[in-house]
Amino acid sequence: LWDGSLDTSGYTSVPWTVTVTNTAPFFNIPILPNVTIQMNFIGLYPVSSMIQDNEGHNSFLTYKKYTATGTLLASSAPTIPFISL
């Protein structure tokens, strides 16, 4: 019940939780199409249209090379043969 007068006797704090979320950028297709490249020919693989970031952040693409059985061969651009950004 409030009689209309200004109550300056105190205040009440109400807990307020603010959650800020962020999600990682991702490829917006389930499986990346396989690439077929002919020796001595340049093959371009346009990935920019497949990249999405829901928060509008810049996305940075890096790559690693594995053997077919999953062993990491190289993880930085200069040491991986025949691929570049």
């Binding site: 991702f26 490829f27 396989n34 490249i37 020796m39 340049i42 940075f60 890096t62 090379k65 077919a68």
Partner: protein, 144 residues
Amino acid sequence: LKFFSNSFSDIGVHKFQLQLSDTHLSSTKDLWVEFYNNPPFFIKEVPINLTIKFNNSVEYELPPYMDTEKNNITVILSGVPPIKDFITLNGPYKIVINANQWNQLGSFRVNISLSDSQKINSYFFNVTIFNTAPYFSSGMKPAN
């Protein structure tokens, strides 16, 4: 992404893992890349049969050939003796057939291959060496 290689050692299927990051969070996706090479080939057909007269040297020009990856091409002529004794390469575009031994008479299956050192295309053709019996070049005349 850009792919390029001029090395035979890269031929095959490669697995990459692409990573996207906004500097705080990241996600990954696999990418399979097949890198391939084709063997060189003759642009026009290799004749199936060549018939050559015994004791007669014939130079035969090979049909034009190419490699779609523009790799260097090596022509390889092969066959068991006596083929390799009388059919030889003369430079990269010609073969010479010169049969002058009796065991070189008959029909022989010859293999000619085009190689870029990684892949090879083989072609076969037949070479027939024939000989005719001696004969009188004019009619018989009475002896005096």
